[in-house]
Symmetry: C2
């Protein structure tokens, strides 16, 4: 009797000039060594780049190749795009690298929509390169949300000891207040609650941050965003059965005591949650896009152009990103 | 031969309805036990309140009293104001408590200007109570800056393992971008460099945060504040001989690696620095107002109305705040 096939995960290689290629090499080696027992990673990347990086780092340059993602029965590479990549240099922004990074995502989305992969894991892309290639997405999160036609989605950063989800992410500091609304905050509360229920196996306790210093201190600071926008969203979520508390001052949401008492924090803007996550779980935290039809996770770090192709990048965050989707319910839908 | 007299520090009791009174009781006990060897704390507070709190907590209610601050030759209480305090209840905002908290500061400032004290340490006040009493300061920092006629000043949070100074502090989230300028950022860089030179005894290495996610990622996000306002200020500071790096993304400024490599971080807004400080040094960090003619420090926490008068408040931050001024050069000026 054969055991059921493991669900396939598309792992996009990210910007070829960043640390993505070497992380994928580490991943393939770890998969060959049997480190991933509940999924089957398929690297969506460029063989030509993987070979150049492998040569540079003295790593083996033989990879199991598949002609199409659905053909993979073990960890493998699906060669997506090599055009114009010969000239790519580590650490340099280029439209060719941006285009390649986009193509890896594009093919992974197609494979997910076709049911060939049960989840997507992304290595970091460079937003400047992406824009230079004519793809005007602020980041992965928005690209996947649009292409996978998510009605509502948000970014979450997850490690077992800290989890933050975001009402706004890759927008300018000054744009944040205009993007807050009870509806959007409620959406993020719903998505966060649902995801942490699956990961934790129980109803999570959520904290919701305010926007202003001291959460506005009863409207002494700021435009009353806490009273007008955040508090009504929290009250409505509580009425829906979500265990949510807030708005609380951002600087009290991550103290050791708060981290013991709450399972997740809903943040109003990027740095409000990224500062504490990077302090506590640098190289361990996983980025998840919540609300998509398939789970999509990514590493928590950037392209790290300064150390690209040197073999210095820690694959810990990528490995964690590969392991997390199996803990989300979406993976119960096995790939055919 | 007598040793020279220890410099006197004014310790303001803060809002009488908060944890200030019990912290002052702990301080007086610790001082009597000989815990402060390089300064002489004088509590600027209300005897009537200290007695009520002492009774409630079962602590001794005998305190050394002085009729005027300059008369103190050991740790003592200077009874400032008792009007209307009979009705004060722990944990409740009231104009009477706000007025008392203001008066403690007012007398401490007068004592500093008269040379009777060589530094000021403040227990937390409640900003709502302060405003209810008709004193329209956003907080201690601004009150002291105005009354001590500081040409330029800024807030710093200090612990030996993390130090942040702030370009803006107690203003609404949305007001921050309009308050940034190369001149103001340069001022904060100067004040931070000077303070850390004194505390560390060498030229400090400073990091300067950006405002937008990823420090704007080369103007992809935000209004170009990094390029227009922050980078020129950093370049000018470097030209003045300050070891400053930035702007860097806020979420990379507090990683374990960054904290090992830099002595201090210049933050653009309140929560950018308060989140990491409260995570790492809750109950240990000290607030300093830089740029004043006398050193002024304060506890890093609020009035904690929820646990006031219960004996639960940790005096660690107040003790640290009392010890820090002696490490700043201002205290070389001994009180007469």
């Amino acid at each position: 009797m054969n055991s059921p096939p493991l669900p396939r995960l598309a792992v996009t290689m990210g910007d070829p000039a960043g640390v993505g290629p070497e992380l994928c090499l580490r991943l393939l080696a770890a998969a060959e060594a049997g480190e991933f027992t509940d999924c089957l990673p398929v690297v969506f990347g460029s063989i030509a780049v993987l070979e150049r990086v492998a040569d540079r780092l003295g790593l083996p340059r033989r990879f199991p190749l598949v002609a199409e993602p659905a053909a993979a029965t073990a960890a493998a590479v699906y060669d997506v795009c090599g055009d114009g990549l010969e000239a790519i240099k580590p650490g340099l922004v280029s439209p060719a690298a941006g285009e390649a990074a986009y193509q890896y995502c594009d093919r992974a989305i197609a494979a997910a929509l076709a049911g060939s992969v049960a989840g997507i894991v992304t290595a970091p892309l460079n937003k400047e390169a992406l824009q230079a290639a004519g793809h005007h997405y602020p980041g992965h999160t928005e690209l996947f949300a649009e292409r996978l036609a998510a009605e509502r989605s948000c970014m979450m950063q997850y490690a077992d000891d800290i989890a933050c989800s975001f009402v706004t992410t890759h927008v300018g500091y000054a744009e944040v207040p205009g993007l807050l609304s009870p509806a959007r905050i409620g959406e993020v509360l719903d998505l966060t609650d649902a995801a942490l229920r699956r990961i934790r196996g129980r109803a999570p306790r959520l904290l919701v941050c305010g926007l202003n210093p001291h959460a506005g201190e009863h409207s002494l600071f700021g435009g009353g965003e806490e009273e007008r926008l955040i508090a009504p969203a929290v009250a409505a979520a509580v009425a829906r059965g979500i265990d949510a508390t807030g708005p609380v001052p951002g600087d009290t949401a991550f103290t050791p005591r708060a981290r013991r008492e709450y399972d997740g924090v809903v943040c109003m803007y990027h740095d409000q949650g990224h500062i504490p996550v990077k302090m506590i779980a640098f190289d361990r935290a996983v980025n998840i896009t919540l609300g998509l039809p398939v789970p999509r996770t990514s590493v928590d770090h950037g392209t790290a152009f300064d150390i690209a192709w040197q073999g210095l990048a820690d694959p810990g965050s990528l490995f964690a990103a590969v392991r997390l989707p199996a803990r989300l319910a979406g993976l119960a839908v096995k790939a055919p």
